[in-house]
């Protein structure tokens, strides 16, 4: 029912621009939210959807452009100010306080209090119950939030936003933690809110949902607005074509000429974690994942963010072990229940969060590089400084780490150089299989190219490389083979040479063909 007669522009962002150190996240983007309408916001990872939303709800301030509320230029100071202006947001990461009750969370920050300063407890619970009644009446307002399931928390979060009776409701991937049934309830809720006049911005990677509930679709790519179209003028194929189509800007080393074969280095047979299926927290039924990596090849793991890639590679490294299925390394079934076991089996893992998981920031380059292979430099219980120094210097040169010496503290290096130190650290363990998660995120182009070249060299030496990345060009340019994940399972396997953005995007959004 697009284009209801009474719809008018409530919130407008005009020519919004936002730059973060080193990245232009948003360039000259204009968005219009109308009452009685659902505007879907779609685009690849890193297209700028979240940045745009964060500008509209006051988390960030724009560097350029302006925000108009009912036609009046308005500065949205912070998220709370946004809420008082009638703009409520449900972010991807939930922001409930687990040790308060549902009602206390819903009314937090706007508790009704009497003249004496005492809370009107019964009012709090009544108003919370009213807000919940519209969203999910089965949730108990007296329950502690830590007792709720992820889906219930999502509903409480929406009730919290809804309790303000906003004119604009922004939902950032609200269905990603929900099962199909729960998602369906949410969609009908959104439809109901729209009929009451609310303007909804709906971000989702599930294109089915986009077609089901939106009136207009705004497509974003690389921080730009590609187009805004009424849903009636779109079909799945056209939408995907609008979302993709970036230019290859980096040079990738040549792929291996022939497909790798022989005995797989890594083989996953139907692995899963029944307690919480890969990726999606609330999905009903767990589907196992099977994949192989042969020696000497680079295998890419693609898909939109949060489709289970993270759980999968963390499972391979034993950080959060699988509870089902088999892991075979060199044809032998192994039990990897801890990172130690993974290292012993010849697996090295480079996490996406460099600072938190990959490096000890106050230690030097040398100390960080040697950390995972201390056994090689210890004799009679003592570290051998000379040997340590030689090994570190060797890799400083091999990887072209830009620092005056190996004694430099890692915390002072650039992101690219830090990533090289992490690579060196794991290469020193002489792994058979190298697993990388977003290895080039936030890294300058030159270092990216160096890392690509290095990975290819390793593959040529017979190492198996598994790389999970949300950067589609990287995925296509680097990989010999590509697996695409969607909602916790692999939806397709594509040869790197045959991969196109359209094909991968179709697989990434749940469609088998495009």
């Amino acid at each position: 029912m697009p284009g209801t007669t009474s719809s008018q522009v409530v919130l407008e962002g005009r020519n919004l621009t936002k730059t973060f150190p080193g990245v232009k996240a948003l360039t000259d983007v204009t968005i219009q939210c109308k009452s009685h309408q659902v505007l879907a916001l779609v685009g690849e990872n890193g297209a700028g959807k979240s940045t745009l939303v964060n500008l509209l709800c006051g988390v960030y301030q724009p560097d350029g452009g302006e925000i108009l509320l009912n036609g009046t230029p308005t500065r949205v100071r912070d998220p709370h100010h946004a809420a008082t202006l009638g703009i409520a947001t449900v972010h991807q990461e939930l922001s409930l306080l687990p040790h308060l009750t549902v009602a206390e969370n819903i009314l937090l920050g706007s508790e009704p209090a009497g003249r004496t300063g005492f809370l009107r407890t019964s009012d709090i619970y009544r108003r919370a119950a009213e807000a919940l009644a519209d969203i999910s009446p089965s949730i108990d307002v007296d329950a502690m939030v830590y007792d709720l399931s992820p889906a219930e928390r999502q509903m409480v979060e929406i009730a919290k936003a809804w309790s303000q009776r906003p004119r604009v409701l922004i939902l950032d991937e609200p269905t990603s933690s929900l099962s199909k049934v729960e998602a369906q309830n949410l969609l009908s809720l959104v439809t109901r809110l729209r009929s009451q006049g609310t303007s909804v911005i709906f971000i989702s990677h599930r294109l089915d949902e986009v077609f089901e509930i939106s009136d207009e679709v705004m497509v974003m790519k690389d921080g730009h607005r590609v187009d805004t179209l009424p849903i009636g003028e779109l079909d799945r194929g056209k939408l995907i074509r609008l979302m993709v189509g970036r230019e290859m800007t980096q040079t990738f080393p040549p792929r291996r000429p022939t497909p790798a074969s022989g005995r797989p280095l890594l083989e996953l047979r139907d692995v899963a974690r029944p307690a919480r299926p890969l990726g999606t927290a609330g999905s009903a039924g767990s589907c196992g994942v099977s994949l192989t990596v042969y020696p000497g090849e680079i295998v890419g793991l693609g898909g939109l963010e949060g489709q289970g890639q993270r759980d999968l590679i963390r499972g391979i490294f034993g950080a959060e072990p699988f509870s089902r299925g088999q892991v075979l390394i060199d044809g032998k079934a192994v039990r990897i229940d801890s990172p130690e076991a993974a290292i012993a089996a010849g697996v090295a893992f480079i996490p996406d969060d460099r600072k938190a998981e990959g490096l000890v920031l106050p230690l030097s380059i040398r100390e960080n590089m040697i950390l995972a292979s201390l056994a090689r430099v210890v004799r009679f219980g003592f570290l051998q400084g000379k040997r340590e120094q030689a090994m570190a210097d060797d890799y400083m040169g091999k990887l072209a780490v830009k620092a005056p010496s190996a004694d430099q503290v890692v915390g002072n290096l650039s992101g690219g150089n830090q990533q090289k130190v992490i690579l060196a650290k794991w290469l020193l363990t002489q792994p058979k299989l190298l697993v990388l998660h977003e290895p080039t995120r936030g890294i300058d182009i030159q270092t990216k190219v160096e890392i690509y070249r290095l990975l290819r060299q390793l593959a040529e030496q017979g190492v198996g490389v598994l790389i999970a990345t949300g950067d589609m060009l990287e995925l296509i340019g680097l990989s010999d083979r590509i697996y695409v994940m969607y909602e916790g399972s692999v939806t397709g396997e594509v040869r790197g040479a045959e991969a196109t953005e359209e094909r991968l995007m179709a697989l990434s959004s749940g469609g088998g063909t495009a």
């Binding site: 409930l96 040790h99 407890t121 019964s122």
Partner: protein, 321 residues
């Protein structure tokens, strides 16, 4: 669940159940073992012994709920006794101004602690460590050794009793009821829990986390001064170092009562039992003629035991969070 008794109220009460069972068990055991413990005199004694610590621990709990800590609270206790010790015979202050001055000094120290934590972003541990030293210096400047005397009428008032009912006990009751009502039934109280639970989430919900933090530290300083005043009523004089132990003992009492050092979890209901447990342990071991070094060891073991208990119990909830 009755209307009105919901959320944080129930939460506080539930968390405190084990510590109350422990205290009751200890009392029951001692009642059997020691005839002296059964006397009315000893009951009043226990109440008087527990009063300063229990009072101070209220302030500490408030700051711990914020996810902070107040190490200066012991120095504030000392300073309050020192200020009151100028109100006795030959003193330079009347009791009224002395009381006001002690309370104002405590609140000021707390306010400055809060300001340092919020505006200068000094970690609470360091901020209050610094103010602990400064306040102690001021107390020592005012009175370099224990001495002076507290207004007779005031001490007589504080030491009034009728049967087992004592003024110390009544004061403590009023303080705890006020703190409990504040934390459970007022906006700032709720915001304190939210700020300590997750500062950023609370801020995004429209809670003024900076103001809440400053308020929390100010209240802690104020309550610390109240603790000092009650203590002065017991020792009839001023002592510039008497409060030192209260800084950490009050943390121990709060934690024993189920308040988390990470903030956002706990409350004064448990703190009362925690303070009683600590004070009673001393009383009981004294009655049983146990050497004082054993008393320290026993206190330490109780604390460690309680922490293990809460850690094991709390793990599920934290996971889910």
């Amino acid at each position: 669940m009755r209307k009105g008794w919901r959320g944080s109220v129930v939460r506080q009460a539930r968390r405190a159940i084990p510590i109350y069972l422990l205290v009751l068990g200890l009392v029951a055991m001692t009642l059997v073992v020691s005839p002296t413990f059964r006397t009315e005199q000893n009951f009043r004694n226990v109440v008087a012994q527990v009063t300063p610590l229990a009072a101070v621990a209220v302030g500490q709990t408030v700051v711990l709920l914020l996810g902070g800590i107040d190490l200066s609270i012991g120095s504030v206790v000392s300073l309050a006794t020192v200020i009151l010790s100028f109100s006795g015979r030959n003193g330079s202050l009347h009791i009224g101004p002395a009381l006001l001055l002690a309370l104002a000094a405590g609140a000021l120290v707390g306010f400055l602690n809060g300001l340092g934590v919020v505006r200068l972003r000094i970690p609470p541990l360091l901020m209050t460590l610094a103010s602990m030293a400064v306040v102690k210096g001021v107390a020592l400047y005012l009175r370099d050794a224990p001495g002076g005397s507290v207004d007779r009428a005031f001490t007589r008032f504080l030491n009034w009793h009728a049967g087992p009912v004592t003024m110390f006990g009544l004061a403590l009751l009023v303080l705890y009821l006020a703190a409990w009502a504040f934390l459970s039934f007022t906006r700032p109280g709720r915001h304190l829990y939210a700020t300590g639970g997750d500062r950023e989430h609370a801020r995004r919900s429209g809670v003024n986390v900076d103001w809440t933090t400053i308020l929390g530290y100010t209240l802690a300083g104020l309550v610390g001064a109240i603790g000092g005043i009650l203590l002065a009523g017991r020792i009839y004089s001023g002592d510039p170092v008497i409060g030192d132990a209260y800084s950490l003992d009050s943390v121990a009492a709060s934690v024993l009562g189920g308040t988390s050092l990470l903030g956002g979890i706990g409350g004064v209901v448990g703190t009362l039992a925690g303070a009683v447990l600590l004070a009673m342990t001393n009383n009981i071991l004294n009655l049983l003629n146990v050497f004082s070094f054993y008393q320290y060891i026993v206190k330490g073991l109780i604390l460690a035991g309680a922490l293990v208990l809460y850690h094991v119990r709390g793990r599920g909830a934290h996971r889910a969070a």
